[in-house]
Assembly symmetry: C2
Amino acid sequence: MGKITAVSPLAPAAFPELPVIDGVTFAAAQAGVKYQGRVDVMLARLVPGTTMAGVFTRSATRSAPVLDCQAKIGLDGATGAAILVNSGNSNAFTGRNGVASVQAITKAVSEQIGLPQDRIFTSSTGVIGEPLPHDRIIAKIAELEGAQTATGIADAARAIMTTDTFPKGATATATINGKTVKIAGIAKGSGMIAPDMATMLVYIFTDAKVERGLLQSMLSELTDSTFNCITVDSDTSTSDTLLLAATGASGVEVTEAKGAFRDALNTVMLDLAHQVVRDGEGASKFVTIEITGAASDADAKVHGMAIANSPLIKTAIAGEDPNWGRVVMAIGKSGALADRDRLSIWFGDILVADKGWRNPDYKEDQGANYMKGEYLKIRVDLGLGSGQCTVWTCDLTHGYISINADYRS
Amino acid sequence: MGKITAVSPLAPAAFPELPVIDGVTFAAAQAGVKYQGRVDVMLARLVPGTTMAGVFTRSATRSAPVLDCQAKIGLDGATGAAILVNSGNSNAFTGRNGVASVQAITKAVSEQIGLPQDRIFTSSTGVIGEPLPHDRIIAKIAELEGAQTATGIADAARAIMTTDTFPKGATATATINGKTVKIAGIAKGSGMIAPDMATMLVYIFTDAKVERGLLQSMLSELTDSTFNCITVDSDTSTSDTLLLAATGASGVEVTEAKGAFRDALNTVMLDLAHQVVRDGEGASKFVTIEITGAASDADAKVHGMAIANSPLIKTAIAGEDPNWGRVVMAIGKSGALADRDRLSIWFGDILVADKGWRNPDYKEDQGANYMKGEYLKIRVDLGLGSGQCTVWTCDLTHGYISINADYRS
């Protein structure tokens, strides 16, 4: 872990009470992969009949466990499944040895719990380019198998943390034909967070029964407007993995991509995505960026991410400076369509720039006062069309520098 | 100016001795646009027969002076020309008032020195979105006209500074058919510096005689491998302007886009580009990133800029951490072609990663020792083809945060 151990000021008051999801059990252990004195490996077991869906980093240098998961996620399997995750070492850029480590771990889990190897999914998160000491993980598999409990999800959330300052969990329920299904998820991530990928480790579980293709299409669609709309530092991990498992243990079947289940899943995904931003390395402000009036939704996202990733805007926010000129700069550089003389900008509800010119009624004091808040909204209307997008980010502070200038030391 | 006034540790020992360029004179004055107690406006006069070329920001929200320069730069003019630049206010995102300010200033200069208004080029740099108090500039034009001197270029370099910690100048000569021509240039820029644009204010003067079309084509070509290959923070200004004026006063004509003149021009442009990086806000290290073996030169530049703009790499450099895993991450996320198992990485001459795997002979101490230097080189070979590119950047330090969290205060 880095040297910064204070919990983010934007952290939730407490880890949420997550319900038991029938059909899945958890355990965590101290394998000492890198960190000492804390849990760093978790195993989740899923009952036969579970369907799985996944979204993964599109990095060209993605890690061995990601490639392994991708090869397996599209397979149907009636046998149940397991997910094993370690923190401290990402097993990325480890060449053939990395593949061998994944093989060794999945084989060991397979033998321990009696499932086919192609139903064992693994993730690794931490330092890149160091050999994974997989023997330390394998030595804990029997213990992880023996300690399985339906209530172990909070420990699992802690085991997957790296520079995170708090464990991340979220839950929601959906009522389908009068019956309730439950969803609970956990996530890790606070740096190397950027759009267009799953961008972190996330594991979501539900007791609903959902056919694999439908589960995957819902997950992919909702990823676009949740995890792919957040950014901490514009950097993209080689290891990002989002797995969704539907155990079917409730006996309640979801048969359409719209409705209560989708909405509940969206709630959990958005909550976890926001928690990742709230734990952004060094973050002191949570910023919502809302783009409207763009030529298209795609253009709106390009503009939103240009703002969210601009170091000059993120440092201005850290300094509580209502520097809307830098918002103009980011819109101008984004590459998406913009017309300076149709552009309007709000900080919260305060109109600061109105169609290409400073709002004459705007007083700098208003903006400066608004910027003192912890939860800020910047809205930009392009005045060109109906394209829109909302993205989320945090500020760029001395804390980010401190954490990342010596993460490995 | 921001609150950080210490000179960059990467600054040259002194401002270079710039030669007189026959055909151009300079003066600087204190107009009090924003800064007090320092020169903040400069006027350069160019003799009849001068040809001009320019490169400008491609920002969609570019400033009124940039739009005005772009409209004029392609015109032939036998009358001579003038360049007026102010610092402290960029006259960007100022709508119709911004256009009116440019009109007022260029008209006043035109009347004062007796040149057509379409031969008066202006630039403004500083805060975005504030009305330009152009009357303060106009009030100084007679003084600027009266104080013109052939040796005033160093004062001009100081007048255009904003968050710069040192004035930037460079010079070179070329021998053409046994006769010498001189080139001298000045630049400002230390934040909001990113590729694919001219990205700062630069003014270069030569006494060579060069036809306008040839001058423009050389300038555009050399911009691609100099100013467009540097980045401080990935942000792109609305005001960036690069003007090159050839007075012809030496009587020596340049007739081809290759050879000694082009080489000397390249020397001046690269020197100024490097000085901008060396004055990068908060910079403590100057970093050369050399990409070889890419599928194409364009891909090499994408990879190079992904590394140069990565906050995680820039903070690792600040922390003197040889964190080559983050280089792998940046290559992976860049979007250009890469094959993890062909990728090799050097820090200086130290091979740290060899075709997708940590070099077994590499010792962390070697890398850590190398990172203590002020001038660092990261080389990546993709192992795919012959595409190559070199880009330059600086590290990301607490200083960048300090400067930008309260630039306007």
